[in-house]
């Protein structure tokens, strides 16, 4: 490839990439602001997973009964509060 060929190829590429970048396109994805409700719904999934893990670890023998009961109580309380806030936000 000669110097001129390289220059022509480069200019063609520049033109194609310029067109691609600035082509009038109205169907671009919009940037949605994440709400607190979105966040709480994500958090809910995580808390469910934490509860599942706790139950599983108990059944696998990692927790004595008394530890399990207290830990489950804490997690369930946290989950209940979160679900209540989700309910509240969904009603608003």
């Amino acid at each position: 490839m000669t110097e001129t060929d390289g220059l022509i190829a480069g200019v063609l590429l520049l033109f194609a990439l310029f067109l691609y970048t600035f082509w009038p396109e109205n169907s671009f994805a919009s940037q949605k602001q994440k709400t607190r409700l979105d966040y709480l719904l994500e958090r809910k999934e995580q808390l469910y997973e934490n509860l599942r893990d706790l139950n599983f670890e108990y059944r696998a023998g990692k927790y004595p009964e008394e530890d399990f009961v207290s830990q489950r109580g804490l997690l369930e309380h946290e989950t209940a509060e979160l679900l209540a806030e989700i309910d509240h936000l969904q009603q608003v």
């Binding site: 995580q46 209940a80 509060e81």
Partner: protein
């Protein structure tokens, strides 16, 4: 092709700069236009412009007016989309440049200085590809191309979370601008020979590729390592972007988890391939020499590993947010340091394939990155408040914290040792080099403690536990630990010699014992979980283990990775029992090492267009019978490999490459699970005209490479999505649960 390649680089630089500028402007416009955030952000906007002024991009006054004008003419979201498209277009342009360089190598275009210095006509085809990263300019182009590729994938998948991806893409473009600027202004890969004019005479042949790089691993080791280095830019960009936009929640961690794990895997493979290259090419019998460049690749691996562990705490409990952000910031900066050490030759290293003055560029860029990180952290630190605190010192959380502290301690020690020659030269005026004994003295105990934690972590439940539970879970591993110590002593391993401690043997015994304990702990963990599944589903233990792993691939894949690490540690511990012998060998003379006898049956020479070689032929006997080995014959039906058993003959070799006139050792290795027989052709004695042969018996080295296979397998398992669990809905009356106070922080 040189013109086309240079043009592509220029286009890529312009596109990356546009991506950075338009992306940043669009994001600020969107942020300031959001209801309820405008007032707060407009206040903070001044800080952003102070930073921009520091970087030489804007002044606060110009910035404000530019924003006003752009807001009036174009929708910010449209602007952001053009920025994203510019990123994609930039990838095409960099690919064009990389293609131009590869094309120039294959067409032997010696009018380009880089091709002249790193290739020659007789160079085998795979090494022609290796020429791309054998020199500084080419490897920087590879860096930019890989970053472009990662960015391309990121921008194509932006609909996962458009705003977060827009932040990450803009930050990546900032990194890309730096690398492309270096390529265009400081280290151009398409620079022509001095005084060359189009159509003029060019040299008939090139100087050839560095002989050290003419080895199969070298075709894949650097790209793997670079994939690892470059890949950490992505979680870094997400973390910084999430912090800049005060991203609510921890979803960004879930989004980047695959990126981080794949990157970590590439870096791990790159490090191990480098170890194997050092083992098979450098001819000293070892695989890790604490060379500054080896250290440079190991440091981001340590912080990256710490990050992979500690983000789990953030995901589960919203803890350690600042810690995690700084871990990934540090990891990215360490990858930059790694590239700087490899490419700028700040400290002397076997990897000093290319040295130049681009160090200043890197130092300035690292300074800018650090400034941006500190600035963003100070500005947004309120967003990183922890949601929970550690409930107990005896919990999975605390084991992760210890694991992080140990990994960071190891990283700091290695960083200190690596930079000590520079620091000592600056302070005292004399360069003091830190050698392997320093690292071994410090890093070996740290490493063993880390392996110990690898076993302890899975035994501890999340949140908190009691002494009773610990006792029950630790019984088996402790039994395995002491049983291994007793077996080691019984088979004759003595951690002491002449009344004093033999540190090598001592650490080997500790390593074997800890490895046994950790393996037991992990297997017990699998069995405990499988037992639960088995009781629930009436499956046999094997099927239950399979289901258990599929239900939580992340956790059990992680445990498989830990098994791989333990296997590697067993392999490393074998080095305490290395044996070696060196002697001149005449025809039919023999050499004894361990159970092997080596007989010299010929010393000869060979030539091909690329190199001349001297080599010795050594028949190998084990306990007076000819040792056997498997020889690869070919493939049956193009798929099934066929091997045959043949008598073992080893042919260590010494080559002199014709183009560069540089010598290179080619080691002969006979690898078995229990040890490697490693034979080096040291050279020819000019007085007697007889070859000098060195033989080393390296116990358990094969375990290191097998451990890598297990690590790769475990990482793949962890990357597979888990089976989705069925959930039962739980309804709690809103009135009873005090809904007026937020349950958790993080939604701001």
């Amino acid at each position: 092709m040189a013109t086309f390649g240079s043009f592509c680089l220029l286009i890529a630089l312009v596109l990356a700069a546009y991506n950075l500028f338009a992306g940043a402007v669009a994001l600020r416009l969107i942020a300031t236009a959001e209801p309820g955030t405008g007032k707060r952000l407009l206040g903070k906007q001044r800080y952003w412009f102070i930073l921009a002024g520091l970087l030489g991009l804007f002044t606060a006054w110009i910035g404000t007016h530019v924003l006003e004008r752009i807001r009036a003419r174009i929708s910010p979201e449209r602007l952001a989309d053009t920025a994203r498209r510019a990123g994609i277009a930039g990838f095409v342009a960099i690919t064009g440049a990389a293609f131009a360089l590869i094309w120039s190598v294959f067409t032997n275009d010696f009018s380009i200085t880089y091709i002249l210095e790193h290739s020659n006509r007789a160079l085998p085809i795979p090494y022609k590809f290796a020429a791309l990263w054998s020199g500084q300019e080419g490897s920087l182009l590879l860096w930019a191309w890989l970053l472009g590729t990662y960015g391309f994938v990121l921008r194509l998948t932006h609909k996962t979370d458009v705003k977060l991806y827009a932040y990450a893409g803009t930050i990546l473009s900032g990194i890309q601008v730096f690398f492309l600027a270096v390529l265009v202004f400081a280290a151009p890969p398409f620079a022509l020979l001095p005084g060359y004019v189009a159509g003029g005479a060019i040299p008939a042949d090139g100087n050839g590729l560095n002989p050290l790089l003419q080895y199969p691993e070298m075709v894949i080791h650097p790209p793997m390592l670079y994939l690892g280095y470059v890949g950490f830019s992505v979680p870094f960009a997400f973390a910084l972007g999430a912090l800049m936009m005060r991203y609510p929640g921890e979803k960004w961690i879930k989004i980047t988890r695959v990126w981080t794990m794949v990157t970590w895997l590439f870096l791990t493979c790159g490090i191990f391939l480098g170890m194997h290259w050092a083992y098979a090419v450098l001819g000293w019998g070892g695989y890790w020499g604490w060379d500054p460049v080896e250290n440079a690749s190991f440091m981001p691996w340590l912080t990256g590993t710490a990050f992979l562990h500690s983000v789990m705490m953030q995901e589960r409990k919203g803890m350690m947010k600042s810690w995690n952000v700084w871990l990934i910031f540090s990891t990215f900066l360490l990858t930059m340091l790694g590239t700087l050490l490899t490419r700028a030759g700040l400290v002397s290293s076997v990897h000093a394939f290319a040295q130049s003055s681009i160090g200043t560029w890197f130092v300035v860029f690292m300074g800018i990155v650090l400034t941006v990180c500190i600035f963003t952290y100070i500005l947004q630190r309120g967003h990183l408040k922890t949601e929970h605190h550690m409930e107990s010192l005896v919990s999975r959380e605390s084991s992760f914290l210890f694991n992080n502290l140990v990994l960071l301690t190891a990283c700091f020690v290695i960083l200190w040792g690596t930079l000590f020659p520079i620091i000592s030269e600056y302070v005292q005026g004399t360069k003091v080099t830190v050698g392997a004994p320093f690292y071994n003295r410090v890093a070996v105990p740290i490493g063993l403690f880390l392996v110990f934690l690898t076993g302890v972590g899975p035994l501890l439940p999340w949140r908190a536990t009691s002494f009773k539970a610990i006792k029950r879970n630790f019984v088996l591993p402790v039994i395995a630990l002491w049983a291994t110590v007793i077996v080691c002593l019984a088979v004759g391993v003595r951690p002491w010699k002449d009344g004093s401690l033999d540190s090598g043997s001592f650490y080997a015994v500790v390593a074997f014992a800890v490895a046994a304990a950790v393996l037991t702990a992990i297997i017990a963990e699998f069995l405990r979980g499988a037992g639960v599944i088995s009781r629930q589903t009436n499956r046999n233990l094997f099927a239950a283990t399979w289901l258990l792993t599929r239900r939580n691939t992340r956790r059990y894949g992680g445990y498989i990775v830990h098994i791989g690490v333990v296997v590697v540690v067993i392999g490393l511990a074998g080095s305490a029992f290395n044996r070696s012998i060196e002697s001149e060998m005449g025809l039919h003379s023999t050499m004894q090492i361990g159970p092997y006898t080596l007989e010299q049956v010929g010393a000869t020479q060979d030539s091909n267009p690329n190199y001349d070689s001297d080599y010795a032929m050594l028949n190998v006997y084990k306990e007076s019978r000819r040792a056997k080995t498997l020889e690869f014959e070919g493939f049956q039906s193009y798929v099934i490999p066929i091997f045959r058993i043949v008598p073992l003959q080893m042919t260590p070799e010494k080559r002199v490459y014709l183009a560069s006139q540089q010598p290179q050792t080619m080691v002969a290795i006979h690898s078995l699970p229990e040890w490697d027989l490693y034979v080096v052709y040291e050279g020819m004695n000019p007085d007697t005209d007889q070859p000098i042969i060195k033989a080393i018996l390296n116990p358990l080295v094969g375990w290191i490479w097998f451990g890598l296979v297990v690590i790769v397998f475990g990482t793949f398992v962890a990357l597979v999505p888990s089976l989705s669990p069925a959930t039962a809905s739980l309804r709690v009356p809103a009135a009873k649960a005090a809904p007026m106070t937020p349950a958790l922080k993080g939604g701001d």
